[in-house]
């Protein structure tokens, strides 16, 4: 039942990471020597005051199938995230994301696609420079080598269709386009530029869900999600005259899913823990950033694992692509 829609908030943050360098020395454009930004792990970046960030992210999951028959197993999910960010203060950014989901089962018996729950989020930026401070408006490349942190929080609004029915009129919350009720997110990030070329980023977050009563009367509460990500980025190439930079990323993404509840009872074959490994690349060209990575489940400990399919931990792979530009 795990609704892949739950990824919305987590994915929301990642494009922000792609613009981590935009705070460099009030440059207003990508810095070629600033800290790097992973593809999936959220960096400790805030947007320059008054700047507008537009981003698009695709998380395309292809699931393992376990039967030879072409049946109702989950085949793939594509999550498109269309987002805007605004630098309210140098230390405070706000984001709005409208996701579009396309969920496909193997026999196409119940595919779903459409805009899902809109997400809103705020990010507060902090740094350690002889004490803890809010992120200032102007930082040099040397300032950016300091420890940087963010605290973030957000929620989803039930704008997607939670009561999507299949051909038989049944509702599968895992295939729906919304939660039907707001969910909340809170998290913290830390970023440290270790050397001129290497940056370490850590990110931990929590997502909680309310219980929703669907049109058919079932009551579902998705299990709490905990995430802990750790990433290293290394600057591979810079072409100053072309304002181009290429980074390599290696990330470990830990995800712990609580057991879903239906009518107050824990559901079998939901929840567990997954450790993903994500090698990736990020390219910067002028004010534009493009991230690309492949997310692979390297270790799993799923509840009733043999009965789970088409959910987190059961992917062949996830292709993660992000594009962002700062205006």
């Amino acid at each position: 039942m795990r609704a892949t829609a739950l990824l919305a908030l987590a994915i929301l943050l990642a494009p922000v990471a792609g613009l981590a360098h935009h705070g460099v020395a009030s440059l207003g454009v990508a810095g070629l020597e600033g800290p790097g930004a992973p593809v999936e792990t959220s960096s400790s970046a805030t947007l320059p005051q008054g700047s507008l960030l537009a981003f698009l992210k695709l998380d395309h999951a292809v699931f393992e199938t376990y039967t030879d028959a072409v049946d109702g197993e989950g085949a793939s999910n594509a999550f498109w995230m269309y987002g805007l960010g605004w630098g309210i203060r140098p230390w405070l950014s706000a984001y709005a994301v409208l996701p579009y989901y396309a969920k496909k089962v193997e026999d196409n018996s119940f595919n779903s696609a459409g805009f899902a729950d809109m997400s809103l989020m705020g990010v507060i930026g902090l740094k350690w420079d002889a004490g803890l401070h809010l992120v200032p408006a102007n930082e040099s490349l040397d300032d950016l080598e300091d420890w940087h942190f963010t605290l973030y929080g957000g929620l989803t609004l039930p704008t997607g269709d939670a009561d999507l029915e299949d051909a038989n009129g049944a509702i599968d919350p895992g295939m729906s386009l919304g939660f039907g009720t707001p969910s909340t997110l809170a998290g913290v990030t830390a970023t440290k530029q270790l050397t001129g070329r290497v940056t370490a980023v850590a990110d931990a977050s929590w997502i909680g869900f309310g219980e929703n009563t669907y049109a058919d009367g079932q009551k579902v509460r998705f299990g709490t999600e905990l995430r802990a990500n750790l990433a290293l980025t290394a600057r591979l190439l810079t072409l100053p005259e072309r304002r181009f930079r290429l980074d390599a990323n290696l990330e470990g993404n830990y995800l712990q899913l609580g057991r879903d509840e239906a009518d107050g009872v824990g559901e079998d074959a939901t929840g567990g823990a997954i450790l993903y490994v994500l090698p990736g690349l990020r390219a910067y060209y002028r004010g534009v950033s493009l991230g690309l990575g492949v997310k692979l489940p390297a270790w799993t400990d799923l509840n009733e694992a043999d009965d789970q399919q088409g959910a987190e931990g059961k992917e062949d792979y996830r292709l993660v692509v992000s594009f962002s530009t700062l205006m």
Binding site: S26, L27, V29, G31, N138, S140, P240
Partner: protein, 254 residues
């Protein structure tokens, strides 16, 4: 034992200010730092005498090569004690470009004059003295050296483009932050490019401040540059560059 005063780096055509400013016009990190490392101006000390030199100063350390420099370049020399009071320095014969005297802070202002880019190259002339001027500027360069510290030196000492440390820079060690104020006319300057050892590291904010990190012991070279419109029949812009120089104890490996 010799130590050096260093003035802003300049190209063979005396365009250090322009080069440095251009480096950070939009993005500090986007500009190649090597562009600023063509030719340098610096002051070399021998005992109580400091002499202006021109040439190459690689990385703020030894190995300098000097080239001839015209004596007419110096506009003014200011010297201060640790309390910020004027100190006496004596200009030695002009051709030597040397000054004698003790000072906590010594500030030397120079100018390489008018420059005009033409279809036939860049010339050391105002734009109204050449045919087909494309772009023109007047170049100003200055340098401040600190050899002692007092709280009064945490404030600007001149009306020129000037780099001022906000705390005792002589107490810093590699890894420490050097917190700077850039002023002109005694007022904070926003958007000035600031470089360390010739590599741009940031630009000043609205408050004129920027922080750099000390990377090594020995000679410290910090530079700031700024380009402003110039309402003159001789040039379109004024290009300012200034340097702050001080020395820290050598650390192992420096």
């Amino acid at each position: 034992m010799k130590s050096r005063f260093v003035t802003p780096r300049a190209t063979c055509r005396g365009t250090a200010a322009r080069l440095l400013a251009a480096l950070l016009t939009a993005a500090v990190a986007l500009a190649g730092p090597d562009a600023a490392r063509a030719h340098d101006l610096w002051l070399e000390r021998d005992g109580d005498t400091a002499c202006l030199r021109y040439g190459h100063l690689p990385g703020g350390h030894g190995g300098a090569r000097t080239l001839p420099l015209g004596a007419g370049r110096i506009l003014a020399v200011f010297a201060f004690d640790a309390e910020g009071r004027p100190a006496a320095v004596t200009a030695l014969p002009p051709d030597s470009l040397c000054f004698r005297g003790e000072a906590a802070a010594l500030f030397v202002a120079t100018s390489s004059g008018w420059w005009t880019k033409t279809i036939r190259g860049t010339r050391n002339l105002p734009k109204d003295a050449v045919e087909h001027p494309l772009k023109s500027w007047r170049s100003f360069e200055s340098v401040k050296r600190l050899d002692a510290w007092g709280e009064a030196l945490a404030r600007p000492l001149t009306d020129r483009l000037e780099l001022t440390p906000l705390a005792d820079p002589l107490a810093l060690r590699p890894g420490d932050k050097l917190r700077l104020l850039v002023t002109r006319g005694g007022e904070p300057v926003a958007g000035a490019t600031v470089a360390y050892d010739g590599s741009p590291r940031g630009a000043t904010g609205e408050d004129g401040r920027v922080n750099l990190r000390i990377r090594h012991g020995g000679l410290q070279l910090v530079q700031a540059s700024l380009v402003l419109p110039l309402n003159s029949p001789h040039a379109d812009e004024a290009a300012y560059a200034t340097a702050l120089v001080f020395e820290l104890p050598d650390t192992e490996g420096d």
